[in-house]
Symmetry: C2
Subunit: 220 residues, 2 copies
């Protein structure tokens, strides 16, 4: 059963806090997801901390993020977990590979970095302040891009290593259609494996959310 508690964007911190505390106590509810981004007047960090870690199907509470760091997480953030699942399902070797993630957020880059390290990849996290980015990207066996700003960044065929694995987490609106960070048609010729946008990582994120909800329902 899914309940959609849609508060108006004008709601106060107090109203949102009250709702989360209510859902934390409700034994019929196994998973709570706060849809981000929140309006500016809402204290995101405070709100995320209030979710019962056992119901935190987004894996974003400090407690669950910390468990991820030590390899003890049950509820892992959905996008990073979905990427690992995609790679595994497609038998992409991770161990020993040089992986680069272009994203340093707590939602994607950092947790994905952990999961790749756990699987024995060597991990580099790049971002807007990275110098000589292209030179670095050309050394990546596995390249995950999650920039989502196609005006500033487009991954083109000259920027990748031959036969590398390309995972596109970017979401850009371009001429009314959704596209990723990658110049897909040319890059797919040179890569050994590539995820499309839409239809690649996005649906995996949703699957992982459901998987987490089932896991959450099983937590004592």
């Amino acid at each position: 059963m899914t309940r959609d508690h849609k508060l108006p964007s004008s709601c106060t911190n107090a109203e949102l806090i009250e709702l989360i505390q209510l859902l934390n106590r409700d034994k019929q509810i196994h998973g709570i997801l706060v849809q981000l981004p929140l309006p500016q007047h809402i204290d995101k960090s405070l709100i995320l901390r209030l979710i019962d870690p056992k119901k935190d199907v987004d894996g974003l509470t400090p407690h669950n993020a910390g468990l991820l760091m030590t390899g003890n997480a049950v509820l892992k953030p959905c996008t990073p977990a979905g990427i690992i699942e995609l790679l595994d399902y497609n038998k992409v070797e991770i161990s020993g590979m040089d992986a680069i993630v272009i994203n340093r957020s707590a939602l994607v880059g950092k947790p994905l970095g952990f999961l790749l390290l756990e699987r024995d990849a060597t991990v580099t996290i790049c971002h807007s302040r990275t110098r000589l980015l292209t030179e670095k990207l050309r050394r990546a066996d596995i390249l995950v891009t999650a920039v989502g700003n196609r005006h500033d960044f487009l991954l083109t065929v000259d920027m990748i290593k031959p036969d590398s694995v390309i995972v596109d987490v970017g979401i850009n609106k371009l001429d009314g259609r959704i596209t990723g960070d990658v110049d897909f048609e040319s890059v797919k010729q040179k890569a050994s494996w590539i995820t499309p946008v839409p239809g690649g990582v996005g649906p995996m994120t949703i699957s992982m959310l459901l998987k987490n909800t089932i896991a959450a329902a099983s937590i004592e």
Copy 2:
């Protein structure tokens, strides 16, 4: 005031749990540190989770590790925080630098990776399964080594970039004396800046522990 609660190594999980719960409740106590490593029969992950995050001066509870990930930590793990303090005190530029950390533990490598990312370095985490390690190390502007196994790994002068910054977190016992991961005498000629062992990162770790204890005493 420091109280040293020394339990015998034969103590049970239950005895250690009881002690931590007692210290969590004791208002005279502001900081709790569980000296690692623990005996094998003790459940380290369980024990660390029990420490009140507000008294967790080692920054090792899942809650505090998670706050570190989002840049909201008050109590940061002592060794990584001490390294940043050392770099800052010596006016080492971090932003935009290529930093490599040889260590992927939850104690050093992962939290240090966060702190360096927060300061706009591009961060690579290397470990025992990293391929072509030397080739990578030669590209590092800031190189932090925390291997601590001098029989398998010694950072020699040919492995570093000229004028790079070398931080040695390794602790090895060699012929009865303490030494780091680095062939200090030769490497210091080529590096722009280097920390010695003993006397470099070690004392910083202890200072950070005291700093965290003061911070913990100020938490409401």
